[in-house]
Subunit: 451 residues, 2 copies
């Protein structure tokens, strides 16, 4: 019988990140300059990103060494444990075997530090004293605050004003690690002041917060900007998750039939799936399933085209599945999945039909999250509950088909800072959002036409 | 060089709890009947406790087998990891080696499920359908909710009204695991109704909540009562922590010079310390240090005498260090340490000078907690920060004396639900409470005189 929990020794912590593009041939497109709509010179990005990360963004190398200093910081919570979900299997009455990789053991409570640590390290090494970033509910901001603190760097987080006021505890967690946190729009930047002049009561948005963080970085020599998902180098850093998960399964002689993750920007899903995607591309019989929110379904309902990464249209354009950067996703309680686009790598893999995608309504995700807490114990983040939902759906298919397939999913974070959302669910105040087809159509119609 | 993290395999999970009283000869006293002040017949307690736990309460056996069902539930988070606090050592500039056992990995976020699981199991086995308990900030209530759910039992938690309103997220965590949570005083019990008649705006207290939970259990045949600390069987269940910690240190060839824990009721401290206490009693050179809050210092300033376990004087009297059951501890932000008494076993060990005790003001504890988060990553519970403070004090002594002693402490829980307290600390609104000598003297003067 499998053990409940599989762990690795510190010696087994991966020494390299894995670049799936070295093995899986999909067409990738260079980012476009927002001013000219022509391919962007990497040097232009050097104003806000360190060279090491820009190199990783474009590398064709298969294995990228993880620096010793990064591995040492990883050891504060890595290798993470992998669990066999015996109790969930019993509750579902499925012959399937369900395994989950548990990333919520990081101090920030999610997989986000896997890239935040690396980004802090490279920026520090290239002489930067401070990182600026934006955050919505605070998952990414707290991961970067934690990571900057590990390397003695300052960290400035522009937190969307409504979240700053409504979710004060992630804000305090950022302060715990020494970050300065400003409600956005703020008086600290020209773009923030400009917005406040027009609307002193502006509740803020992720788009505005990105503009503030980018401006802060661009206008301070000692400061760079940091992004928590979407970009190639972010997805690269997250592959430490999948490399570990594969090794943990190998220890018990198991290989998955289905690999499942939730997707917002795409980094946690890709992190778990990358090594299995390569196997699939090489002919191995393994399915890879991404689960996104039905209210913000960029893969299953979006267009594969060039779009800006932010709402304001300041960032380079990337070729990706998108609902249009002008589209404001409904206020679902999975802030980490409320993104109009999708990582270019994940988009290309989906376009090439190497991975599958599905969508899930939020009430169903919360149902799965609560069932998980009542079987496996852990209270999951609402984002992670989307992965649980998808894993359960596969397990119920196995039950219907009488198959004992192996399902692996990534439990990317805990829900300790999401209890107000669960409260709404328990009180029957959580509802689903219909797919906002008209708003998406309007948003897509505004996209610039690119070759 | 030591690894950062030491883990055990599932096969190494302890098979028995350890009863320190079998090896350490201290004088223990039977509990007294509150009605007669005479030794209490165990049968009288059988109205609200299962026989298996009453037997454990009085056993002279050295090793008590952990039932398979309990071990299986333990595996959801046990064995827990042990860490070498390299980064904290560096920050303190100490030659001491600091290790901490990390109990915050349990789904409830603390060591409390170690006994809650066992209590749920034995009650279920003896035919009970439901457990009732009280909770202050919610740490114990959530552990019992989690554990009852694991064994398909119902769980009713009487939560002190002010906490119910001010700390809603632990309340939601209890609902996550299916518990029903009532603000106390409630209309559900005669004692609750009686209090509400006299004072409809009563904010509640732990004493009142205990009365409600005990009444609920006593008046329902299918329901028992459950307590999260103080009693011998609770301390016994927590020894799984120390047995594991000792085994983890043995793996790297280390034995501690000092073992440290925070104390409120005493169970987490005893859990870690028990096997080392036995070694010390057998002549081994190891110091055992309990750290309590300076605002509620039962060991360092209390009397060793018979006192009630609750505020209302309904429970049996136990021989323990106490500030008097009438004493209401100041509103420090470590709800788990706000207890007027101390576990009889810990009290007897202290009285026999086998263990040491010290007290710590809350601002200093928060300072230590924040330093810990900024070095080791983990945001600790304020209760756990008392143990960090004590470990740091030992480490700084080692620095002054040029000694590289080994310090082991128990990091009993995370602070994810305590961020409002950290917010007060960051905002400079947290202050120390002077030891309330007069209130304690008044409270002690009211104690019944017993042989």
């Amino acid at each position: 019988m499998d053990p409940v929990k599989v762990t690795l020794s510190e010696q087994e912590l991966p020494t390299h990140w894995y670049n799936v593009l070295a093995d899986v041939k999909v067409e990738m497109f260079p980012p476009l300059d927002p001013a000219t709509l022509q391919p962007m010179a990497p040097q232009k990005l050097a104003a806000i990103f360190p060279m090491a990360l820009l190199e990783q963004e474009m590398t064709g190398e298969r294995w990228i060494p993880i620096p010793d200093e990064v591995r040492e910081a990883y050891l504060l919570y890595r290798p993470t444990p992998l669990y066999r979900a015996y109790r969930l299997e019993r509750a579902l009455g499925t012959p399937a075997k369900i395994y989950y990789n548990w990333e919520g053991v990081s101090p920030a409570g999610s997989h986000k530090p896997n890239t935040a640590i690396a980004q802090a390290y490279y920026n520090k090494k290239e002489g930067k004293r401070r990182l600026a970033t934006e955050t919505g509910a605070g998952q990414w901001g707290s991961a970067l605050a934690f990571s900057c603190n590990m390397f003695g760097m300052a960290c400035t987080v522009y937190m969307v004003l409504v979240s700053y006021e409504q979710k004060p505890y992630r804000r305090e967690l950022m302060r715990m690690w020494g970050a300065e946190v400003f409600p956005s729009p703020s008086e600290k930047t020209a773009s923030g002041r400009h917005i406040l002049e027009g609307d002193p009561d502006c509740p803020g948005s992720l788009g505005i917060a990105i503009s503030e963080a980018v401006e802060d970085a661009a206008t301070h020599d000692d400061t760079n900007y940091s992004l928590g998902s979407v970009l190639n180098h972010v997805l690269l850093h997250q592959t430490v998750v999948g490399l570990e998960a594969k090794k943990k399964l190998e220890k018990i002689g198991v290989y998955p039939d289905v690999v499942v993750g939730c997707v917002g920007g795409g980094s946690n899903f890709h992190g778990l799936a990358a090594p299995f995607i390569a196997d699939r591309a090489a002919g191995k019989n393994v399915r890879i399933v991404a689960c996104e929110p039905a209210a913000c379904p960029s893969l299953t309902r979006g267009q594969y085209t060039f779009d800006f990464g932010d709402t304001a249209g300041l960032t380079p354009l990337m070729k990706m599945y998108t609902l249009g950067h002008d589209f404001v996703p409904p206020a679902i309680h999975s802030g980490g999945l409320r993104y109009h686009g999708m990582a270019p790598i994940v988009s290309a893999l989906y376009h090439a039909k190497i991975i599958e995608a599905m969508a899930c309504h939020q009430v169903a995700a919360f149902e799965s999250g609560v069932r998980f807490a009542r079987t496996e114990g852990i209270a999951p983040a609402p984002e992670a509950a989307h992965a649980i939902y998808a894993a359960e759906r596969e397990a119920l298919r196995c039950k219907a088909e009488g198959k004992s397939e192996v399902i692996l999913f990534n439990l990317c974070g805990h829900g300790h800072f999401d209890m107000s959302s669960y409260q709404k669910y328990f009180d029957g105040q959580l509802h689903n959002y219909e797919y906002p087809a008209e708003a998406v159509a309007r948003s897509l119609a505004k996209l610039p036409k690119v070759g």
